[in-house]
């Protein structure tokens, strides 16, 4: 597997971009967080649980998670039209699926928890950054959760598996080209989100999953630390 492929920014194949996490960035929200990986920046804000409107969308069995992913028009080189698109609609749904398994919404019948994700700056891996921020924001809002969710994009560039692709790597066109594999998992290792675009065999795909697991472990530690740091132990407000 180890060809003499070199990453453009000199990272090791299993090295994440420099990343950081912060909690409590939107004062109005019940919970909020920022996750940055390299030059990709995502923020997420949680509102709720609150009553679901319209009424016919209410679920009497359990609460509903509603995620919306939105990119700032200027977050990419060629401006994108503001507002929802087919792409953002899909990512919103996938984010819900990634996070729902850890949420304990059974006590919030007829209610909805809104998670709004906004991409301020994009350099690949925006859905993963969004999921990381959203998971922290949900915890920050005090929504009961069984576990944390961490997300990373693994890629195959020609024949080499690498983690946390940058935009430059995502556009890699040599050999077999790029394969983009965003994966999200709980801390206990359950995969809650899995996508793939490109070309890969099952053996290498399992390698990719293993690499994602290792990387998510590192992301989890940073998410946990950010949440712990957000708790003021001095007994003051905020």
């Amino acid at each position: 597997m180890t060809s003499n492929f070199k990453r453009p920014d000199g990272r090791k194949f299993d090295e994440l971009r420099e990343f950081e996490a912060k909690v409590g960035i939107v004062p109005n929200a019940d919970g909020s967080a920022m996750y940055r990986s390299g030059e990709t920046i995502a923020i997420a804000a949680v509102y709720g649980p609150k009553k679901m409107h319209p009424q016919h969308s209410q679920n009497p069995e359990k609460g509903t998670l509603r995620c919306t992913y939105n990119m700032n028009s200027f977050s990419v080189s060629e401006r994108i039209r503001p507002g929802p698109s087919r792409r953002s609609t899909e990512i919103s749904k996938i984010t819900e699926w990634a996070l729902e398994p850890v949420l304990m919404l059974d006590k919030f019948q007829n209610m909805v928890v809104d998670v709004h994700i906004n991409i301020i700056q994009a350099d690949a891996g925006t859905r993963c950054a969004g999921i990381n921020a959203a998971a922290m924001a949900l915890a920050h809002a005090g929504i009961p959760m069984k576990d944390m969710v961490s997300s990373v994009s693994v890629g195959k560039l020609d024949k080499t598996i690498v983690v946390d692709l940058s935009k430059e790597e995502e556009d890699y066109e040599e050999g077999e080209g790029p394969t983009d594999i965003p994966i999200s998992m709980t801390h206990s290792g359950d995969i809650t989100h899995f996508q793939l675009d490109g070309k890969i065999d099952s053996k290498q795909l399992m390698e990719a999953v293993e690499l994602a697991k290792k990387s998510c472990e590192q992301i989890y530690e940073v998410q946990k630390k950010a949440l712990k740091d957000s708790i003021d132990l001095t007994g003051g407000e905020d």
């Binding site: 509102y47 609150k50 009553k51 939105n70 990419v76 906004n118």
Partner: protein, 270 residues
């Protein structure tokens, strides 16, 4: 969190706000013509040609400038185009619902568009690539991050600041394509600071920079886009009314506030 949250300003609070104003006081201790603390953070999004985060108290907006080539409008074949949009994100307040743009965001975009356009702040005639065929379009996009009142003025500060930071990407004439990795220079602007400042009327009192609660109680507002005492755009909003005397007072307040903004904003852009 909690089920039924009251996110409108109640009558009791409204009366209290008015009572305070009788004594020239506000909940946060500001004078009636005093802005909250303004923080301008440049370059918050590196794919934008210019970007800025503006905080006015707890209110927060992000404004970005993008440029694209386009065909000019028939009535201005040698001038660049300008387009301003504002998106009030549901992320920024529990009051903002998903769905098509509401009036507030449309109005904000239009008011900012008018002050930038009418003041001729951007030298659009310098943004012509080939007369009648190709010109630059300047997009100013405004996003709310936290709404604690007076989004409009914050957006106006953001638009001016983001334009001042903006650079023109390289246009490759042979390939007829924009190279967003290279820049040919700064966006051509006039030496001016066309901020929009809104004065609100609560009872008999005139205030600037309302918090969310104060804005809810406001009966009428007047948004004035100006630079160094010259007014380029104006819009009265809400169903209350102003006397001529009050309008005059509003202009005085705007002029005073403009000087304050001019100093604070430009100091942080250096």
């Amino acid at each position: 969190m909690g089920g039924e949250e009251i996110d409108i300003t109640t009558k009791v609070t409204a009366e209290r706000i008015k009572k305070y104003l009788e004594q020239g006081k506000r909940f946060d201790g500001r004078k009636t013509d005093e802005f909250r603390n303004i923080i301008v953070e440049p370059n918050v999004s590196n794919k934008a040609e210019g970007s800025v985060k503006v905080k006015v108290g707890k209110t927060e907006v992000i404004v970005g400038v993008k440029m694209e080539t386009a065909t000019p409008y028939p009535d201005s074949p040698n001038k660049g185009n300008l387009m301003v949009t504002a998106e009030f994100l549901p992320l920024s307040s529990s009051r903002i619902e998903l769905g098509p743009p509401k009036f507030d965001s449309i109005e904000t975009g239009r008011i900012i568009d008018r002050i930038i356009r009418e003041s001729k702040f951007i030298e659009l005639e310098k943004l012509c690539i080939k007369e009648g065929e190709k010109v630059w379009t300047v997009f100013i996009d405004i996003y709310t991050i936290n709404d604690d009142g007076n989004i409009l003025d914050a957006a106006g500060i953001g638009a001016v600041a983001a334009l001042k930071l903006a650079k023109v990407p390289k246009y490759d004439e042979e390939k007829e394509k924009v190279d967003y990795k290279e820049y040919t220079g700064k966006l051509p602007l006039k030496e001016m600071n066309p901020f929009t400042i809104t004065v609100h009327k609560i009872g008999k009192h005139l205030i600037v920079d309302p918090t969310r609660e104060e804005e809810d109680v406001s009966e009428a507002r007047i948004s004035v886009g100006s630079s160094e005492g010259i007014i380029h755009s104006l819009q009265k909003g809400n169903s209350g009314c102003f006397s001529a005397e009050e309008i005059k007072k509003c202009f005085e307040i705007v002029e005073k506030s403009w000087k304050e903004l001019f100093k604070k904003v430009n100091a942080q852009l250096k």
